[in-house]
């Protein structure tokens, strides 16, 4: 009896799952999210829509978390392994350096955190450390990362060993040119779903000061209106071109619609010297769109921009 059942089980497990299934299912998921966001009636039969829902593969995976003992490590810039790790960081301009980083690592049952906290040093060209600027930037970074760690530790305590959560924070140098040094943080929180957030710090290399978007424009200039207008236009264009794209613009729910960038939006200057505005997941689009970015054509802002930031 059991022998036969085992045989059937084996055949069951040998049922070959088509390789294209995952992509197709992801397309169906994306379609469903899009239809939900747009309040379209439910399609009774997605099979009819097959040709149109095949196209949008999502690249999202749950973080696999294994059970392990509690580890809490804070690395300092002391051992050879750290020195080696530091070599891997693809950066270092002449003025702002990442001199070390600390790593907050924790794993317990299905709770996991990996938070990298860089420490930077702002120097003049002669190698003299600008202590005020250095301290200010590091304090800001620390306040930001401490908040993330505190939120994780609160979740950890609340879950009492039963929670499932993975917090990951990494960073990269988004911009490092004559004018600007920008440090971009990527945060991913995976519970049952994942949320992605971005935070970017900018240092004006001429002054060593931290700057925000308004500092790239002439005093008193209205930069928000032309940038916001351009983003709305890009959203509409992208949605017209690709039906799998969806933004909250002209939607049925006016309070969700993107109207204007905030006072302090995330941004960076990309390799071609263009301003890029960054929105966190869910900020201006349904979650399946993830973190979204818009490159602003320099024409849109050249009349009001300070010299040298954009190309």
């Amino acid at each position: 009896m059991n022998h036969n059942l085992d045989q059937i089980k084996q055949d069951y497990q040998n049922i070959k799952v088509p390789e294209t299934l995952k992509k197709q299912m992801e397309a169906a998921i994306a379609q469903a999210k899009k239809d939900t966001a747009e309040h379209l009636p439910e399609q009774a039969d997605t099979r009819r829509k097959k040709s149109s829902i095949f196209r949008f593969p999502l690249a999202k995976c749950a973080a696999g978390v294994a059970a392990a003992a509690l580890i809490l490590v804070i690395l300092a810039n002391s051992g050879p392994s750290i020195a080696h790790a530091m070599e891997q960081i693809p950066i270092l301009g002449s003025i702002v350096r990442i001199v070390t980083f600390r790593e907050y690592e924790h794993q317990e049952n299905r709770m996991e955190a990996n938070i990298k906290v860089p420490e930077v040093q702002v120097e003049t060209n002669d190698g003299e450390i600008l202590e005020d600027a250095t301290r200010k930037l590091n304090d800001n970074i620390k306040a930001y990362t401490d908040e993330i760690i505190a939120a994780y530790e609160a979740d950890l305590k609340a879950a009492g060993g039963e929670g499932t959560e993975a917090v990951n924070l990494d960073y990269e140098v988004a911009t490092d040119n004559d004018k600007l040094f920008s440090l971009r943080f990527h945060q991913t929180i995976t519970m049952a779903g994942a949320a992605q957030m971005e935070k970017i710090y900018h240092i004006d290399k001429q002054t060593g000061d931290m700057i925000t978007l308004k500092d790239l424009f002439q005093e008193g200039a209205d930069y928000k209106t032309p940038i916001s207008e351009n983003i709305r236009q890009q959203m509409r264009e992208q949605m017209a071109q690709d039906e799998m794209k969806s933004y909250w613009v002209d939607s049925d729910i006016p309070e969700w619609n993107f109207t204007e960038i905030s006072d302090n939006p995330s941004f960076y200057i990309n390799e071609s010297g263009k301003l890029v505005i960054v929105f966190d997941e869910y900020q201006v689009a349904p979650g399946y769109m993830g973190v979204v970015t818009f490159e602003i054509p320099t024409d849109v802002v050249k009349d009001i921009a300070k010299e040298g930031y954009f190309m």
Binding site: Y12, T36, D45
Partner: protein, 164 residues
């Protein structure tokens, strides 16, 4: 919990278990293209109806249920489609040398099939299966015993056919 967040959770569960969902669908519809349709359509339905689920711990059993129901819808649609076709000769498959043991499940009704697949092949707990089928635990147990009994008979017949 808001709908986009619940959608994310459902999506994660779909990504984690779509292979199992596909196999379950396959035991009902018996061919690749219908089973793929069932999984796609179930995923679509699940995300669209994310707002109707209150507690994330029910997501998995809820997905199983959607897949079973969608499979049955597909089968019923097929029955209508093939209504006018000449009925196939019965019993022909049994004498094929590459007899597929999964066909042993054919003797089971919809619920019995779900119980056997989920209990033995997906190794789910009886209580979980009870939640999927919206039955109480004792009913699921009796379905399980009844199904095993039925399958034993079927397998014996199948083996006899091979030998003859």
């Amino acid at each position: 919990m808001n709908t986009p967040k619940m959608q994310q959770q459902i999506e994660q569960e779909l990504l984690a278990s779509y292979e199992s969902l596909y196999r379950l669908a396959f035991t009902y519809v018996k061919n690749e293209s219908d089973a793929m349709d069932v999984v796609q359509e179930s995923a679509y339905k699940a995300i669209r109806n994310a707002a109707s689920i209150r507690n994330e711990s029910y997501i998995r059993t809820w997905l199983w249920r959607i897949v079973i129901n969608t499979s049955l819808e597909v089968l019923r649609g097929k029955q209508r489609e093939t209504f006018l076709e000449v009925p196939q000769e019965q019993g022909k498959e049994d004498i094929y040398p590459d007899f597929d043991t999964i066909d042993a499940l054919d003797v089971l009704n919809e619920k019995e099939r779900a119980v056997i697949v989920l209990r033995y092949f997906e190794e789910r707990k009886l209580q979980e299966i009870a939640d999927v089928l919206d039955e109480n635990l004792n009913t699921v147990k009796s379905i399980l015993y009844r199904s095993l009994k039925k399958m034993k008979i079927k397998l014996t017949e199948g083996e006899l056919c091979h030998e003859s």
